[in-house]
Amino acid sequence: MQAIYQSPLFLPLVMTVVIIGVFPLLAGYIVLVERKVLADFQVRLGPMRVGPHGLLQPIADALKLLLKEDIIPTNADKFIFWMAPVISTFTALTAFAVLPFTEQLRVADVNVGLLVVSAMSSVGILGIILGGWASNSHYPLLGGLRSAAQLVSYEVALGLALVSGVMSAGTLSMVGIVKTQLARGVWGAFDNFGFMLVPFVIYIIAATAETNRAPFDLPEAESELVAGFHTEYSGFRWALYFLAEYANIFVVSSVAVTLFLGGWLRPFPSVKWLEIPLNYGVPVLLFAGSGVASFPLAKRLKSHIHRVGLIGMAMLLVLLGLLLLVPAVNAAVAGFFWFFVKVSSLVYLMIWFRGTFPRFRYDQLMNIGWKWLIPIGMGCILVNALLGLAGA
């Protein structure tokens, strides 16, 4: 037994299984959060029926998708129609392999980690345009063409922003990038006298476009193209596309966090005395505080089962918060906590975009990409190099 734990392949394998097993659930809940948040923006309730406050909605949706009839359009290219969502999902999940959740908690640390992520996102485009083409239908074809043009354009801007980030990190290894930020004592986004915020903003904009999210969701613009490239998809295959989309959101957020927001590092990683208040204070307050705050809410609930359930949850949260006070546990979990908090914030930001901005017109989209983001991204590289020289 001992041997298995010590094998270098053990942790990566476990992580792989966990990611593949847990992520679909996580994606489901990201969707739920998205629906709830959007509903809140629009002053409505969002899903409420399944489970308390709609908490079981994702599971119901997943079950529904699994059981739905799988429709293949006549004259569709069957093989490619089957393969396209698989390509999308496969590439999106493969990118997880190089994400460092913490220094130890990762599948692999390769010295071209960032390139692996770019590679997977660039191959992932194939899934979308092939899906659009194979459906043998007009709306999907247009959606596929649009997405190909959009993704190829914004990939350039994304790459340029990444280059700026890599320049100050000096390595392409995801773990190495975070370690450099630790050594320099500052998050990537605030490096080079704060100039790195510019590539960070470019990255966020381009990443939103790369993931086909509003306001760049032209490939699946409902009002023009029904649902874009996945109009003809249904059931499980459609679910795969959905999974891939949310996996991509998670991946681009994680890359942003790793490159610009210090990965698993806490805020102000170089300030020693902040370690206790930040690493202990913030998570404990978050968990225990939200647990304690739930008790008065529970009193207002009418249903007995709901009340018991909420109190149980609140106790669990308080317990978790207290558990984090144990130094050994804290040391193990703090990094993961910060990583996850940052990624969640970025995912929330993307949902916020969707609730706020109207969709761009196609020419506006291309203008932003080619006339603004790419020149600014190139300029960033130049300025970064000069600032790097000045700093050295």
């Binding site: 660039s122 191959v123 345009i129």
Partner: protein, 167 residues
């Protein structure tokens, strides 16, 4: 393990390459090309050229093939019509003869080349981004810079060939 992976991906690359030629539909051919590019990336990786492998996937399997597919879809190119009058004898005789020819060729190549100790997987360590960057910006700086002229020409060519009518 390395040898097994090598044989596997070499076989995939060859199979995809053959499929690329045999397929009648341009999309199927393009997808086979993606397969070839992907397997080549794995072969590079096995030989220790990590950066080249990643670049291969990003540039070829990703960007270039997407543009290929984009153009094929935009032109809505269909499959080639079946060429009539193809003799069955050609297939029956041709395939074994081609196999014999290729076998002879590979035998000759093997005879001709010196007997090295064989390729050791993982023996090469100069494939990291640092090594590639260093080679490009020191020893091979001149070709690298001339390549920028090449790209300039490509842009110029696009402008010249895609402009509106001369008037």
């Amino acid at each position: 393990m390395d040898v097994i992976l090598f044989l596997l991906f070499a076989a995939i690359a060859v199979a995809c390459g053959v499929n690329l030629v045999v397929q009648k539909h341009p999309i199927a051919s393009a997808l086979s090309l993606v397969g070839v590019m992907g397997s080549l990336a794995v072969l590079y990786l096995l030989l220790g050229a990590e950066f080249i492998a990643a670049a291969q996937v990003i540039v070829y399997a990703g960007a270039i093939m997407v543009l290929f597919l984009f153009v094929i879809m935009l032109l809505n190119a269909g499959g080639e019509p079946k060429t009539p009058g193809k003799s069955r004898m050609a297939g029956l005789l041709g395939i074994p003869l081609m196999a014999v020819l290729l076998g002879l060729l590979s035998y000759l190549v093997q005879r001709a080349l010196p007997k090295p100790a064989g390729v050791t997987f993982g023996a090469f360590t100069g494939g990291k981004p640092y090594d590639v960057g260093k080679a490009i910006f020191t020893e091979y700086m001149l070709p690298f810079e001339i390549t920028s002229v090449l790209i300039l020409i490509a842009i110029l060519g696009a402008i010249v060939l895609a402009r509106k009518e001369i008037d």
